[in-house]
């Protein structure tokens, strides 16, 4: 994978800050019904307030003829898994691949797809990730995915509270508006906050030189203003080290970040005690996140 290709990356933090800058008058959590015009993935809910629509400019069309896409999916122990879903999806069409119990898939797509990517992991039991794919045939090799924590015990995303899971803490403002992805996550029990660190092998496949990366759930959930983010310093970075925060676009609506690429959304630093990686600007949407040392 190449580094983020959009020239607008530098302004993304500003755009995202602007998109989530207005504090709703009262805190709220949505997730039962909807508002089609709300931000995020178009997956939202009722309520007097919604997060403002994202301001990410949509990617220019990039239609590519796709042939056979193959790979082998393994879990964090290297064992084959179906991981729920493997999809060859673009901005215009989505194809489900058939994954064998041996984790292998060979999908003869045979169509042109706009901004094609292989998405793997279902976002429910497994972390969902995406890798861009090129035109023609693509052999992805071994894809490593990782289990998310169980639903049971997952903390709720509550305004004024901190939700922690798997080395990730989100501190929600008292006035925060939580716009849960109620389309994918059907029940309250599925809407708790869950996070998991990606193992080294999973980081390598992303080719982004991340120090650490995490998968967050429920995917495509919006919180505004963005909750400040604290990550466990798993790689023992030195206190004060300056950092960059990236998020993965999994949403074809591209309201917040470009699809199937990693986009920088903020900066932070290692805490003075070296225990945490702190990103006060926060994360605008729950998806996969990665951290680089600032060059």
């Amino acid at each position: 994978m190449t580094p983020p290709r959009r020239s607008s990356i530098g302004v993304l933090p500003l755009l995202l800050a602007a998109a989530c800058s207005s504090d709703p008058a009262t805190p709220s959590i949505d997730g039962a019904a909807g508002d089609a015009n709300a931000g995020g993935a178009g997956k939202s809910s009722t309520g007097a307030e919604t997060c403002p629509a994202g301001t990410n400019p949509h990617s220019p069309p990039n239609p590519l003829p796709i042939g056979v896409v193959s790979g082998e999916l393994v879990d964090e122990q290297g064992e084959p898994t179906t991981a729920g879903l493997v999809q060859i999806c673009g901005l215009d069409v989505c194809n489900n691949a058939n994954v064998g119990t041996n984790g292998k898939f060979v999908e003869n797509v045979g169509v042109t797809i706009d901004t094609p990517a292989c998405k793997f992991g279902d976002g429910f039991t497994w972390a969902k990730l995406a890798l861009p794919i090129a035109e023609g045939d693509t052999a992805l090799g071994t894809l490593v995915t990782v289990r998310l924590p169980e639903y049971e015990g997952a903390p709720s995303l509550t305004p004024g509270k901190t939700a922690s899971s798997g080395g990730v803490s989100l501190e929600l403002a008292p006035s925060a508006h939580v716009q849960v992805n109620s389309l994918d996550y059907e029940t309250e029990g599925e809407r708790g906050f869950r996070a998991v660190a990606l193992p080294e092998a999973a980081l390598t496949q992303l080719e982004m030189d991340f120090e650490v990366a995490f998968a967050l759930s429920p995917l495509e959930t919006r919180i505004c203003p963005s909750p400040s983010l604290s990550l466990e310093n798993l790689t023992e970075l030195d206190p004060g080290t300056e950092l960059e925060l990236y998020v993965l676009g999994l949403d074809a609506s591209e309201e917040l970040v470009p699809y199937a690429t990693w986009s920088k959304v903020g900066e932070g630093r290692v805490s003075e005690d070296g225990a945490s990686l702190l990103f006060p600007e926060g994360v605008p949407v729950l998806t996969a996140i990665g951290v680089r040392v600032k060059p």
């Binding site: 039962a32 019904a33 909807g34 508002d35 089609a36 993935a41 178009g42 997956k43 939202s44 809910s45 009722t46 069309p61 729920g84 879903l85 999809q87 999806c89 673009g90 901005l91 215009d92 069409v93 989505c94 194809n95 489900n96 058939n98 169509v111 797809i113 998405k119 279902d122 976002g123 429910f124 109620s182 389309l183 994918d184 996550y185 059907e186 999994l250 949403d251 074809a252 609506s253 591209e254 699809y259």
Partner: protein
């Protein structure tokens, strides 16, 4: 009318006129409804290719989800035959059959803009009929899934569930969305687009609507 008296009447309606606008079709009728009997519907030439006639698929959902609460009390049967308009008396000039699944991010993105297209082109006779066929984990779509979808996107066009993959006859359900244009005069397939091919589909629809309006 009491509920006990209303049910037999609605049952008769359900049997005789699939797709009636009866607002409170009892659940037992909906679940058992397989015969969206339409005696005037074309009876030959069926197929899945261009110029073939589409079979009279019949679903449960909402004919006008923007005008009713999407709940069990307002579910109704919706069939292709509802939009069969051989003489042009129903005002249907073109039928766009769309498929969607919750797992399909392209479908989610597409449904962000469909209401706007429906609003703009309904006066010229475009009817969009969208079918939700699977949830986020590829399970058959339930009516609860359908209602969450409606709550999220607020479609202003008929939206139904297709848990039995009736539209798999026209394109593999492994790929979504499908957009299929049907001529309501004959119920013949005019175009099929696998994927959201907005750049070519909407210009075609607009030109076809204009052509039909001029011919009329």
């Amino acid at each position: 009318m009491s509920r006990s008296r209303r049910i037999p009447a609605l049952a008769a309606l359900g049997l005789l006129a699939c797709g009636s606008n009866a607002p409170e079709v009892p659940q037992e009728l909906l679940e058992g409804s397989s015969g969206c009997h339409a005696p005037d519907y074309p009876d030959s030439g069926f197929g899945a290719e261009l110029d073939d006639v589409v079979d009279n698929a019949c679903f449960v959902g909402y004919r006008a989800p923007d005008r009713v609460t999407s709940d069990a009390a307002h579910r109704e049967t919706v069939a292709f035959s509802d939009y069969y308009d051989p003489a042009g008396t129903k005002g249907v000039s073109l039928l766009l059959v769309n498929t969607a699944a919750i797992w399909c991010s392209a479908c989610v993105a597409e449904h962000g803009s469909l209401p706007e297209h429906a609003r703009a082109l309904a006066p010229q006779g475009l009817v969009i009929l969208s079918t939700l066929f699977q949830d986020g984990q590829r399970n058959a779509a339930t009516l609860d899934d359908l209602e969450r979808w409606i709550d999220n996107f607020q479609p202003n066009f008929p939206m139904v569930a297709d848990p039995d993959l009736q539209l798999a006859a026209y394109a593999s359900p492994a790929s979504a969305p499908l957009n299929m244009l049907v001529d309501p005069r004959s119920m013949k397939i005019l175009r099929k687009y696998v994927g959201d091919q907005s750049a070519v589909m909407w210009p075609y629809i607009e030109s076809e609507l204009a052509r039909r309006s001029a011919a009329h």
